[in-house]
Symmetry: C4
């Protein structure tokens, strides 16, 4: 069986989304990619999490053709593939309908950077995409969802802002591996929740000063980072 | 004992409402119908969930006469029966006082469709009924509650919008079987919660564009659905 | 040892407040009264719940003199005693700092009756007291808290509205026995939470029409009640 | 191994923050000081809580030099040390990103004293610091965070208000020992949550009258306190 380890990591990331309360029933999906082989492992569509096994993860190529697996892949697969093709630095994608990130997506507003928790993970606001046009919906809804995400990152670095809100839908997050993508989904929800409380408490709140934003992002990321232990530098 | 399996399904649906945090103490009730025999199984009134057994489910006919069972049926039985008589496509009903759906009902507002989570399940806003008049309350409160729900669906299809908010009271949901009715009650609560956060975040938020609403509803329902595995097509 | 059973019921009511998430650390306290002997059992002050035993419940008379027990009673004892002396129909009192009921108390607003969940338990809004004056605070803070509660019920029946918000402090609830007092504290918190969501969703929301309020209250209480099983009529 | 008992208390305080839902992943940190030896025990940076052992707590002197331990200390160590140097009455510090306290910090607003729960623990509003200037960030971010906290207490007594909000970041709390610092962090979050609900419910709410604030603070603290049992007087 191909990609034994990737399957396990993808399953584990899917289960982490459940454990952290980010998915309800079968909502949400995580995938991972083996960049050398150009193969993706993704959760099957609509199967209950408690029964999932690594062997049920579906393996596809970057065009979406099923290489291994007897179940249908998640219906959001084309969105994941578009992200893998356009963001070469990422190794995994996680999608949820987590309640606060989704509420910002439904409101059509980016999650503003209001504190250092946000700045530790996201180098700027988490953007929200445009709505898809009717033509885009007809042209392949899930793939066009990937395209509209990529448009939102035309002037942004997906390695420094590992998440997006698809307008009216919910968040897609990513990372270097499935655990990191799931981790970013958990952090985004926490950050979105606190941003909700903050703006309903102070309607005219200012974003975090940029010097503080830079300081916190660089304390955890890049060559001068000094958060955590040496061995786990990211 | 009649309807062995239906009793078990009805009990299980009632317990699912508890597990998902939708009911407090003995609030809430779920029922199911055997259309061929015209018999309904429903939770007894005011009995603690942890002690319920399938045998305690009360069996009545569509006029509310008890056919089997030594306990009183849920006091909302006449509402369930009115729904079964008027919505021939449904096989089960679930009623809760879940906190966000109930808050929309108390506010007297339908739950607007603000995102794809809603669109996946409800083909339009979840409507809210009128208040019952004094005359209606006196004419048989629970039965008239059923009547006021039916009036709210005069121009709506209950198979496409499997839930309603009874104004000042709380949600009634339904489905093809008890599991589906309970599932819809869980989804309604999640959707109502996110709609609350969304409208308090963006007071002038627009509903989801209808093309996107259609796309998501039809992705999961109807002849062209492609969500989930083939065997579980609904 | 006196009042074996009452001690157990009082301990159990205190633990129910913990299980339902209504108290943090040692906040909150429940008591019960034996009307024939004029003796009250109450939780000791500031002792961790997980270690409490029935024998540690403190027994006092209606003037607050300790009759049995080696620990100090809850510092709110004089408030409980004032309620027992003034509300002859009650058999137990429960006090918490549960978050939504306390927030209404802090806002200085009664919990309005916005739905049938409220109407099932409280025959009108849950009132909020006045603030204590400096003179009252000096004259015996906890006893005067009891007095200010009684003033709030000058024109209300404590048997029909088994709860009050002490302004800037939190809720006191009561019932015919310790289990009922704790039950009412749980319901009040649920009702206060939904009222919060409702008024933040619809600032101009109207109270439940009084005909509906009457219907629901009388469906569960009084001689014509028909909710629940016959044996458990209240 | 130095300071056996302090290490255990510090670990236990860190775990209490996790159990109470105040930290996500490796966020947050607690430390304690041995005033006689001038040595501090603190959680290592970025290590998962479930694996922590007392031996992994890092021991430093008041200048931040590591005296014992093979792991890096929490990156917030210099903030803790500044508090120990400037607040001689405290024995421990706890820092979290708990959601409501952090939201007030993000909003740039002190937590107002709106009720007796607050008054029981904090003798006035919980202050919020200024933002750090660019020069301060460059001069040693974590140490300057300590300095900006001390400035916020120029006219306040840290023994009577054992918490602060660092603007745009989150709360730092303290106490006579690690358990008390963690306890205060838990209470601050509860108080911040209820203050959020209160001000969103009543935008023009008045602070608790000062006589009531004094009464509650002095009921639990100081020479005339009468809350709790005699042996546990604080």
């Amino acid at each position: 069986m191909l990609l034994e380890r990737l399957r396990e990591e993808v399953l584990e990331a899917n289960l982490e989304l459940v454990r952290r309360g980010l998915v309800l029933y079968t909502f949400g999906n995580a995938s991972g990619i083996d960049r050398e082989r150009g193969l993706v492992a993704i959760k099957p569509s609509g199967v209950a999490y408690e029964k999932l096994t690594p062997a049920e993860m579906v393996i596809t190529d970057l065009a979406g053709a099923i290489v291994e697996g007897s179940l249908r892949p998640s219906s959001d697969l084309p969105t994941h593939l578009a992200l893998y093709r356009n963001f070469p630095g990422i190794g995994a994608v996680a999608h949820t309908h987590s309640e606060f990130a989704t509420s910002w997506a439904q409101a059509g507003k980016p999650v503003p950077c209001l504190g250092t928790t946000h700045a530790d993970y996201f180098h700027g606001p988490v953007p929200v995409t445009d709505h898809l046009s009717c033509a885009e919906i007809d042209a392949g809804y899930e793939e066009q969802t990937g395209a509209v995400i990529c448009r939102a990152f035309e002037n942004l670095d997906p390695n420094e802002i590992p998440a997006v809100l698809v307008r009216g839908h919910g968040p897609f997050c990513w990372g270097r591996d499935p655990a990191a993508a799931a981790h970013n989904a958990v952090i985004l929800e926490a950050v979105a929740r606190m941003a909700y409380y903050t703006v309903t408490l102070a309607h005219d709140v200012e974003p975090l000063p940029s010097a503080l934003h830079e300081k916190h992002f660089l304390r955890k990321h890049g060559t001068t980072a000094y958060y955590g232990q040496v061995s786990e530098k990211k």
